[in-house]
Symmetry: C2
Subunit: 222 residues, 2 copies
C-alpha cells in the first residue's frame, strides 16, 4: 500500500525519533543513568515483573520508572506501591512510546538522584521494537501463555533486544507449553540473546539473575 513518498516520510519519522533518542541517551548518561526499555505483548507480565524485581533493585541503586499505556494510570499506581516513584505516559491510543515522550518526562524525574531508569513500554510485541527511546538495555518479556511458536512468528522482537524474560513459567503446563522448547525457539532466532525466566516457584515470584544483570550493566556504563 505504501508509495515511495510515504515510505520516505516513515523513514524520516524514525530518523527524527533516533535523533531525539540519541539526545536522551546523552543526557541520561551525563547523569550516570542506565536506561532499560521493557517491552512485550499486552498481559505478558511486564508490570508484574517490575513489581517483583523493583524492591531488590531499589535496595541496590536509585531507581525511577516511566510507565507507558494507551490509557489509565493503573500501572504507575501499581509500581508506586513498591515504593519506587513512577510517572505515567498515556499515548491516547498510540501503539508505542517514542523518544519525544520520554524527553518530556525529564522534568518529572529526579535525574540527578537516579541510577537506573526503567521504562515500561506500551503492550505490543511489534511496534515498540522500531522506536528507540535512548535506552542502554532492551528487555523483551514473553509469557509462556503466548505459546512456544511466538519467537519464530515475532522474530524482530527477539533480534532487536539484549535480553528476553520468559515469564509465567509456573503456568506453562496449564497452557501445554514447554518452557524449554520456547527458549530453544528464542535461541533459534537469536543465539546471542541473554535469556531469563520469571514466575512463581513454591508461591514465590522469582526472576533469577535479572537484577544482577541490570546492576552489572549499570556498573559498565562508566
Amino acid at each position: 500500500m505504501m508509495t515511495l513518498s510515504q515510505i520516505k516520510v516513515n523513514t524520516d519519522l524514525k530518523a527524527l525519533n533516533n535523533e531525539i533518542a540519541a539526545q536522551n541517551k546523552e543526557k541520561l548518561h551525563s547523569c550516570g543513568i542506565l536506561t532499560v526499555d521493557v517491552l512485550g505483548s499486552p498481559g505478558s507480565g511486564k508490570t508484574t515483573l517490575l513489581e517483583n524485581i523493583l524492591p531488590e533493585l531499589a535496595a541496590k541503586c536509585r531507581v525511577a520508572v516511566i510507565e507507558g499505556d494507551l490509557a489509565t494510570e493503573n500501572d504507575a499506581q501499581r509500581i508506586a506501591k513498591t515504593g519506587v516513584k513512577a510517572v505515567q505516559i498515556n499515548t491516547n491510543g498510540g501503539c508505542h512510546l517514542d523518544a519525544k515522550m520520554i524527553e518530556r518526562q525529564f522534568d518529572n524525574i529526579d535525574l540527578e538522584n537516579t541510577d537506573v531508569l526503567v521504562i515500561e513500554n506500551v503492550g505490543n510485541l511489534v511496534c515498540p521494537v522500531s522506536f528507540a527511546l535512548g535506552e542502554d538495555l532492551r528487555i523483551v518479556v514473553l509469557s509462556t501463555a503466548e505459546g512456544e511458536d511466538k519467537p519464530l512468528k515475532y522474530p524482530t522482537a527477539m533480534l532487536k533486544t539484549d535480553a528476553v524474560v520468559v515469564s509465567k513459567t509456573d503456568i506453562a503446563g496449564y497452557v501445554s507449553v514447554s518452557t524449554e522448547k520456547l527458549i530453544e525457539n528464542i535461541k533459534t532466532v537469536n543465539p546471542d540473546v541473554k535469556i531469563f525466566t520469571a514466575g512463581k516457584t513454591d508461591g514465590e515470584y522469582r526472576a533469577e539473575g535479572l537484577v544482577d544483570y541490570i546492576i552489572e550493566a549499570r556498573k559498565n556504563l562508566k
Copy 2:
C-alpha cells in the same frame, strides 16, 4: 513528535486504506461473502479458536481463511489441517494487515464458492484496530492470561469491534483472573459489544454461540 504535515500523511494513509477496504467489501458482497476480521494480542488464542470453530462453521457454509503474520506459514498450515483452505500473508515485520494486502489475495481464493471469509490479523491489540480490511464483523480475542485490566488499558480495541471472545477461560484460575470481572471491564468500556467465552470444559474446547453468531450475520447480509 508528530508535526501537522506528518499527521496529514498518516490521515491520508488511513483514508487510502479505507477506500480500498470499501472496494474490497463491495467485491466480497457481490460474491455473497461475509468477512470476519479476527484480531488480538500475540498468543491470545486466535488460531486455536479458529482451529476449533472451523469444522462446525465449514459444516454449515463454505469458508475460506486468510492468515496474517509477521513471519512463518505456521498458522495457515495449522488451519489447513481442519480441512479449510487458508492462504498466508507475511507482513515482513508490519504490525497489521491492510486492505491492499487482502485485495491481493482475491486471486488466491475461490470467491464464487465462498460464503464466509475469515481473516486472522497480525497479533497486536493496537494497530489492526485502525485499519479496515473490508470486513463486516470484527471479533477481538482477549485471553484471561492477559489480565482483568486489559479492556480498560486497551479501550479502542473494545470499542471498535462487534464482538469480544474471552479465551483461555480454563486457565483463569491459574493466572488469578476472574472471567466475570474481565467481562465486567469489557462492558464498562463498551456496554453494547457482544461477548463470547472460549476455552476447554472437561477437556473439550467450546466457544458457545460463536458459529451461530457468524452464520446469523451471513444470513443478514442479503
